[in-house]
Symmetry: C2
């Protein structure tokens, strides 16, 4: 498969790049909103576009269970099913399956698990997951990996790295479609020796992109930042780097500074549904009584349609009366904010002003 | 106050007219979606516009309790609060208050009731309700009336008519704003002698429009249709006629045929939230297993963005996975459908083809 990534200017550790995928171009660094069940919760594809989302993430685990392969293939693939014509990245389901704990059983060949929906038994292997993602027609497919919750023992982490590498190799061999780029995932927890081993092994397999998995799973913010920085340095300069599960303003900015190109997280939409507003100058709960008579925008520094149309008082009222429009509007704003943060980061890197951009954002949001 | 209504062509009983209100022109017959709490549930003002809604309804009872007069005035009125710049009609709260049953006490001067939100005590009088609606800056304000559930005794209905007339007179005197047109409400249940008395008394007060209240409250569909027809004939030809609380395809078409110009109902949005799709050829539940692999539109005869973008299979999936996008999309389609039905009715009346339009719709939807 052709290289999907071209690296432009860099500024300090931060990188300005471009992914050229089957369904379009993605300027990096980029944030990917999460559309777990073939929908970024509360938002339409048109709204994702107008909020400047370039690529979205969907979850293999959820789509495998419902609506399932046959329906998705009959629909003409995931893009047509959900009416999003831009790039899609699917995670492998590894993270969800390993979160099931008692309801899954790992062996060398794959993992057997019970559906959280109806208790039915399913099996993921590296090959079946890649075949599923390819059949959906996604732009980027993640390999099946073994994700370990932190804290974990050295033995657990070592075993996870061993299996993840073996499965990455099988995924590489299973990968058939020229329309789908397969990315491998690095594991190893906070153990830099294991991270180095994991990186070396998967990089040797020559994937078009690499993700840092196994972070944002229980460690402190400082541990995550330090590990992300070390991990980024272990990955090839010319390939895209994706830090999985990160979605706060501070964490993203810190990770861009480490040389990360791609992020995903449910954070902005989950916050939006729960009445938590994200702004460049910090987060707040719109349900707070202080906002019932506040006729300023959710984020005075934001130019999204929510901030230019509605007031805190109105959105606060929508949440207090449990009106669906509240979660809709705040989810939109939060996604817009992260996309706008990324746009600003890309411009700053291009202009050689990354460090001041980074410092401004971190200072404002503290 | 100037006349707000001009009557164009008629065809049989059906009427083609135009309301000229402070926030815009409304072509009749028209359907008004209900925005109880300053939001038509699940939809934005932009979506209401694109679904061809010309005017929306909001509820005095709910807005009085939350966010309350002060917040709404400070926001610059209801239009600015909810960011809808088209016409708004507010009901008077009479219907909601009289639904409270044990939690309200009626006297000649007004009605005292307890909030369903926090149990606090409030009082509506004809004057306080008109003042509230005027302060909100709405285009059409309904008078406070006494709405009786059916079945009711002759004495109950007679008392409701007596009080409703007395309150209509006081509302007429309390009405100050030239920006708000006040409409009176006819009561009398299924008793045509009382309906005649109610109509005669309120028409004598010379309001710019008249509503038929006290229907769609427990009677059969046939009783409602017969009473609506008789009531419409009791109202002045040159004034708009509004049948409150009616919102199914068949009921609306039947009522247009009786000479009704305006309708409101929570029906299309409530159905939308519950997975019930309205079409010209009848209603169905999108949750039905039959639709999980049905890749046709919600309504193949509809050209709304939901029907031209998404499949039954996808929307059915959204409902089964409890995704908020499902209620959003189906609410939009249902509102669009009723607006489109009204557009077709207006064209048919103009062309002298009302009877065949009516018969086609009634036959298709049976």
């Amino acid at each position: 498969m052709r290289n999907v990534f071209s690296l432009g200017s860099t500024d300090g550790g931060a990188r300005r790049g471009r992914l050229t995928l089957t369904h379009g171009v993605v300027e990096t660094p980029t944030f990917m909103p999460v559309g777990t069940a073939a929908t970024v919760k509360a938002l339409t594809p048109d709204e994702l576009r107008s909020a400047h989302s370039q690529i979205i993430l969907a979850n293999t685990y959820h789509l495998w269970l419902r609506p399932g392969l046959e329906t998705l293939v009959e629909a003409g693939g995931l893009h047509r099913f959900m009416a999003w014509d831009g790039p899609i990245l699917t995670d492998s389901g590894g993270f969800q399956v390993f979160s099931l704990q008692a309801r899954r059983k790992l062996d060398d060949d794959g993992v057997t698990f019970q559906s959280h929906v109806d208790g039915s038994t399913h099996r993921f292997t590296p090959e079946s997951v890649i075949a599923f993602e390819e059949a959906l027609g996604v732009d980027v497919a993640m390999v099946l990996d073994v994700c370990t919750k932190l804290p974990a023992t050295r033995e657990q982490l070592e075993e996870a790295v061993r299996t993840t590498t073996a499965w990455a190799r099988r995924s590489r061999e299973a990968w058939k479609s020229g329309r789908t780029a397969v990315f491998a995932i690095m594991q190893g927890g906070l153990d830099l020796e294991l991270r180095e081993r994991s990186a070396r092994e998967i990089v040797a397999l020559d994937f078009p992109g690499y993700a840092i998995g196994g972070l944002s799973v229980g460690e402190t913010r400082e541990e995550m930042a330090a590990t992300a920085r070390a991990c980024a340095a272990l990955l090839p300069h010319e390939k895209p780097r994706y830090l999985m599960g990160v979605g706060t303003v501070r964490d993203i900015i810190t990770a861009v500074d480490c040389g990360i190109d791609m992020f995903d997280c449910v954070y902005p939409t989950r916050c939006g549904r729960n009445g938590r507003a994200m702004t460049r100058s910090g987060e707040y709960s719109i349900r707070n009584a202080a906002y019932t008579r506040d006729f300023s925008p959710v984020d005075p520094a934001c130019d999204c349609f929510v901030c230019t149309t509605y007031t805190r008082a109105y959105i606060s009222y929508l949440f207090r009366t449990n009106e669906m429009l509240g979660p809709r509007l705040l989810s939109y704003h939060n996604v817009y904010l992260l996309n706008d943060l990324m746009r600003g980061a890309r411009e700053a890197i291009e202009c050689g002003e990354w460090q001041s951009y980074r410092d401004d954002v971190l200072e404002q949001s503290s």
